[in-house]
Symmetry: D2
Subunit: 148 residues, 4 copies
Amino acid sequence: MIYSETPIDVRYAETDKMGVVYHANYAIWFEVARTDYIYKAGFSYADMEKAGIISPVVDLNIKYKQSITYPEKVIIKTWISHYSPIRSIYSYEILNENREVVSTGSTTHVCLKKGSNRPIRLDKSFPEWHEAYMKIHEETEKGIDRKL
Amino acid sequence: MIYSETPIDVRYAETDKMGVVYHANYAIWFEVARTDYIYKAGFSYADMEKAGIISPVVDLNIKYKQSITYPEKVIIKTWISHYSPIRSIYSYEILNENREVVSTGSTTHVCLKKGSNRPIRLDKSFPEWHEAYMKIHEETEKGIDRKL
Amino acid sequence: MIYSETPIDVRYAETDKMGVVYHANYAIWFEVARTDYIYKAGFSYADMEKAGIISPVVDLNIKYKQSITYPEKVIIKTWISHYSPIRSIYSYEILNENREVVSTGSTTHVCLKKGSNRPIRLDKSFPEWHEAYMKIHEETEKGIDRKL
Amino acid sequence: MIYSETPIDVRYAETDKMGVVYHANYAIWFEVARTDYIYKAGFSYADMEKAGIISPVVDLNIKYKQSITYPEKVIIKTWISHYSPIRSIYSYEILNENREVVSTGSTTHVCLKKGSNRPIRLDKSFPEWHEAYMKIHEETEKGIDRKL
């Protein structure tokens, strides 16, 4: 797969009274990691928004295998597990300092025109981005394993 | 089904620059709603923790159908969609002011001894709670529709 | 003083690994309470934003006297400690279930035209709101004690 | 002064519908920066907690001069503006990418025995930490300017 690795230093604010990272914060980390993936692939989510397009999460899944504590450092491994011009799925693994997978997850995204919420095709609005993701998709199909 | 309804007033802090509620905050609302469900069923998650048992989320799923804005008031409808003494699934619908379902989700929970992370059976540790949830399960099977 | 009281149920998500409410969350509660104060005074911050005016916090102060735990219920007492058409200060007390003051704070606000960040006078843009706050100011000067 | 500089990449989750970073999040950044200051000074807040001592914020002040947007990168400059064995004040400046000061703030801390909330003197409980902070205090008095 074509993946990125994004380091995250756990913040004290992210813990709860169970003594571990509060579960909703994983979704925030996924977003940080996804933004980093996009950046390493040569694009920018902020620029997409500046062009009047938003890409909200329409589906979120997280599995919690082992808890994460403060002050751990974790790595979010991110890859695209499904791509079409109208819908993308990013998948994630959270690795602890021993590179054990302590959580997995995925987020599904569409692109919408800001304001009207009209669906947008990535190949029409951001053809270079589409080309890059098609290439990543093809490489993944061929079994290529590459870190962005 | 045997369900609770929990009103939530959207907080400004819960929005993001897309102008709508940030997606990770739905998981926080689910927790508020789940706590309310448990309370209305006659129990208390805080008391469970005081007894040295925690009940972390091991699986989270959220589908986002329509965005939620500030200052909307929403209702979280909560019910138990699966119950066994070792694993419970709570399901949720978020209703807007027109009672349209704008989001759905579920959280899966186990009970663990705090510290050791040893699994706990609800029927052994909290027999009354187990009885109440078995009764809710049976009523649900019979097609009874009742608000807690 | 002319004050409002806003009940807040502590959310589990608001705690940290110290076992108490994380200190930054008090600022979120102040905002919930301020919005409630404005509403009880007959106005709406959301409507102000719809009219293209924002009222950001320019100064925040919080004193933490006693910690707050989950699942406490607290009350935020809110009043206007300074008002002029260009700058308002809201003051807050957080009361626990025994009505002991466990925290105090204040937030200073200006009004700005959204986008340009040009300062706005409340008496010019929202004359009724200005009148109501002037009346509250006068009542406060006279030592009147009244709950909104 | 003896200071640290901590880079922060603004997270999308940290913005609100005003389109800028939500004001309460600055307090979280101050904590990230303070932890980094302590680390660069040779110590660890997490180790303090492991030894059964907590150091809560008892006073928080933040001034907001210019808003911060996504996806900015900011730097938190942190220094100790007051030190005694029973009370420390950390001061902060948030610098934007042009190194303009867009916000300033401070947090006051005491040390408490976890559980009993009995005050702890740093010179008794962590003598090396006390020595280091006394040295920093003396250097600051002498007008020494040094980055940790």
